[in-house]
């Protein structure tokens, strides 16, 4: 009886290592099958850009080796993945998953995307999860939801791209259906555009100095690709302009965009300048109904949210601890019944064998006396078993049954399923 998590995350491995471990959805079943074949009774693989973790139910000793072998193969170069890895067992493993699903273990404290990723991992691994991990992941989603609803851990926007979304959301009633113009085609522009798109914003145009790069991102986002010089006219239609070019000076200048903005009829325009150095001339903020924010502004929004979120860590940790105990009580109760049954059967076999041996020696006893002897042996066994049974059930209900069960199994040799 045990739950184990083995994996790597942003604390233990750099990005270039983590991205090698990342599994696509279609790769998950094969990796899990290999782990289960090594001797685990259930497995779930959680793989995101920040973590790759194998959650395992009752893994045998060979299983960790199998997990590190799978990850080492991806790492290549003869390096061992275990150098970057960690292992957590039992309550710590449960706590780890609950902290992950709550966003307590995320790079951006309280980020909510992980909740969906935990759900995806569970659904992708459903065939291999088994009942214990099924329950564990189900409860992890509930714990994540509880932490987010009962604490302020998910309030505000704690990263620059999510701050960009938060700022736009203070201007427009709904972001869904708004049109966005993206200037630049670098990683930051792509990330922020994806963030906006996830809120339902329609990226209509991607413009870049080089058309080919703009086209590559535009195709991903279902937008139109343009060169920068063709983009200025689109300031008349777009609700949100997101700029992150690599230009060494401001490319969005008053002369280029003021005429187009004048044709907006007073509709608000949110310009998010993520470029460094800035892409947008600050004077443009003076135009009526134009709201311009640069990377420093967005980081100020994010920093403020992060400070507020950190205040709620103790409350979130309390919820996690409470839920770990609740799960462990369920888990302890789950395994106590079969172990107690086996314990009773084992002692009953001893009782029956000893009674038979004794009765053979006492062949002069009448049938009534033999029956009395049998009754006595049953009664004695029940008396002996009563207190341990009660204590074990109570300990299981209180979430402390695991240690007692292990002791019981060891003392009375109850590891039958492991026997050859």
């Amino acid at each position: 009886m045990s739950i184990t998590v083995l994996g790597v995350n942003h604390r233990t491995a750099p990005l270039e290592v983590r991205e090698r471990f990342a599994h696509e959805r279609r790769e998950v079943p094969a990796s899990l099958e290999r782990v289960l074949a090594a001797g685990a009774r259930g497995g779930v693989l959680l793989s995101t850009c920040n973590r790759t973790e194998f959650y395992l139910a009752e893994p045998d000793e060979a299983v960790p080796e199998a997990v590190w072998a799978i990850l080492s193969e991806r790492l290549g170069g003869g390096r061992s993945a275990s150098e970057y890895g960690y292992t957590q067992r039992d309550r710590d493993a449960v706590r780890h998953l609950y902290r992950v699903s709550s966003g307590l273990d995320a790079i951006i404290l309280g980020e909510s995307q992980i909740q969906g990723q935990v759900r995806d991992a569970w659904e992708t691994s459903k065939a291999q999860a088994g009942p214990v991990l099924h329950r564990l992941f189900q409860s992890a989603l509930l714990v994540g939801a509880r932490v987010r609803s009962e604490t302020g851990l998910a309030t505000g926007a704690a990263s620059a791209p999510s701050a960009a979304v938060a700022v736009a959301a203070r201007i427009f009633t709904r972001l869904a259906g708004r049109s966005a113009l993206i200037l630049g085609a670098g990683d930051m522009a792509e990330l922020a555009a994806t963030c906006l798109a996830s809120e339902g914003v329609r990226v209509t145009v991607v413009a870049n100095r080089t058309y080919e790069r703009a086209r590559a991102i535009a195709e991903q986002l279902g937008a139109r690709a343009l060169t920068l010089d063709e983009a200025w006219e689109h300031f008349a239609q777009a609700d949100i302009v997101l700029s992150s070019t690599a230009a060494p000076h401001a490319v969005v200048t008053w002369d280029r965009v003021a005429p187009a903005i004048a044709r907006r009829g007073g509709r608000p325009l949110c310009i998010l300048d993520l470029g460094l150095p800035r892409d947008v001339e600050p004077a443009i903020a003076q135009l009526e109904n134009v709201f311009l924010y640069d990377i420093d502004d967005l980081q100020a929004v994010a920093a403020q949210a992060a400070v507020e979120r950190r205040r709620d860590i103790p409350a979130a940790e309390r919820i996690v601890s409470e839920e770990v105990e609740r799960f462990w009580a369920w888990y302890g109760g789950l395994v106590v019944v079969p172990v107690l049954k086996e314990f009773r059967e084992r002692l009953d076999q001893v009782r029956a064998a000893e009674l038979e041996r004794t009765l053979r020696r006492l062949s002069h006893l009448s049938p009534d006396d033999r029956e009395e002897m049998e009754h006595f042996s049953h009664s004695l066994l029940n008396k002996f078993l009563h207190q341990p049974t009660i204590a074990l059930k109570e300990a299981a209900q209180a979430g402390r049954g695991y240690g007692l069960l292990e002791a019981l199994k060891r003392l009375f040799g109850l590891e039958r399923r492991d026997e050859p």
Binding site: G156, R170, I171, F172, G266, P268, E288, N289, Y293
Partner: protein, 263 residues
């Protein structure tokens, strides 16, 4: 028993106001159900109190009714527009108005409500509701200008976090102005009807100044609906028109002081 439900309403409005203001003091926002439930309970108590008023005439009953409509509109703004920040203004205002009404005294100032014409009661109710709608338009405009200022100044404090988006405040201002103006107009027309039926007397100054403020309100609605003003300009127009209403009321009240009649 007029006083007890009014006192209960006053207490609940005070609690609702505290709940709305708490996040601005750095405290955790109250759950939405609580933020909506407390004023709704206050409204229920207040409706009982208003229904038992012996007369709707006089400053005190009118202030009580105005407070009731303001809190009702606050609850509607939160329920329909998720604009709980409206309560930053309506909460203290309604609590203050109701407190003032209780201080002035809700004792009968005229014939019992049951003995007066239904048209008169309708005139007062519709007029006060229209006034409350215009007050809501004013509040939404003020919130808009505050949020606009914070966004332009790149200040990301409580106003940024707790006020609704600009566009929503603009919609709330538009809706309350466009609904409030016809409601006030209907109230005025009902007032003329009551006057001709001999139910009330209105002096010439009230008519002249009343028509003037009606024209100013009509202008604020006109620029929104006909000339499609929106955003900051519309907010200023809305604030200017409601300020005109308040100034005219204060001037008329100074000219003819007393608490027997609202106007």
């Amino acid at each position: 028993m007029v006083l007890v439900p009014h006192l209960i309403a006053l207490g609940l409005y005070a609690v609702a106001t505290a709940l709305v203001l708490a996040p601005f003091a750095g405290l955790r926002p109250a759950p939405r159900a609580l933020g909506l439930g407390v004023p709704l309970l206050g409204i229920a108590a207040h409706v009982i109190g208003v229904a038992r008023l012996p007369s709707f005439l006089g400053v005190a009953p009118t202030l009580s009714m105005l407070a009731l409509f303001l809190v009702a509109l606050q609850a509607a703004s939160e329920g329909l527009f998720r604009a709980s920040a409206v309560g930053v203004f309506t909460g203290p205002l309604a609590t203050g108005l109701l407190g003032l009404a209780l201080l002035i005294g809700l004792a009968p100032e005229g014939p019992p409500a049951s003995e007066r014409g239904a048209w008169s009661i309708l005139h007062i109710t519709v007029s006060v509701f229209g006034l409350a709608m215009l007050a809501l338009a004013f509040i939404a405009a003020a919130l808009y200008l505050l949020q606009f200022h914070e966004l332009k100044a790149k200040r990301f404090g409580p106003v940024f976090r707790l006020f609704p988006p600009l566009e929503r405040l603009d919609q709330l201002n538009h809706l309350s102005l466009v609904l409030g103006f016809p409601t006030v107009t209907l109230g005025v027309l009902l007032g003329f009807g009551v006057q001709y039926a001999g139910g009330a007397s209105v002096d010439a100054a009230q008519v002249v100044w009343g028509m003037l403020t009606w024209a100013v309100l009509g202008w604020a609605v006109g620029v929104r609906v006909v000339r499609h003003w929106a955003g900051r300009r519309a907010a200023f127009a809305s604030i200017a028109s409601f300020t005109a209403v308040l100034l005219v009321y204060v001037a008329l009240k100074l000219a003819a002081p007393g608490t027997q009649r609202f106007l």
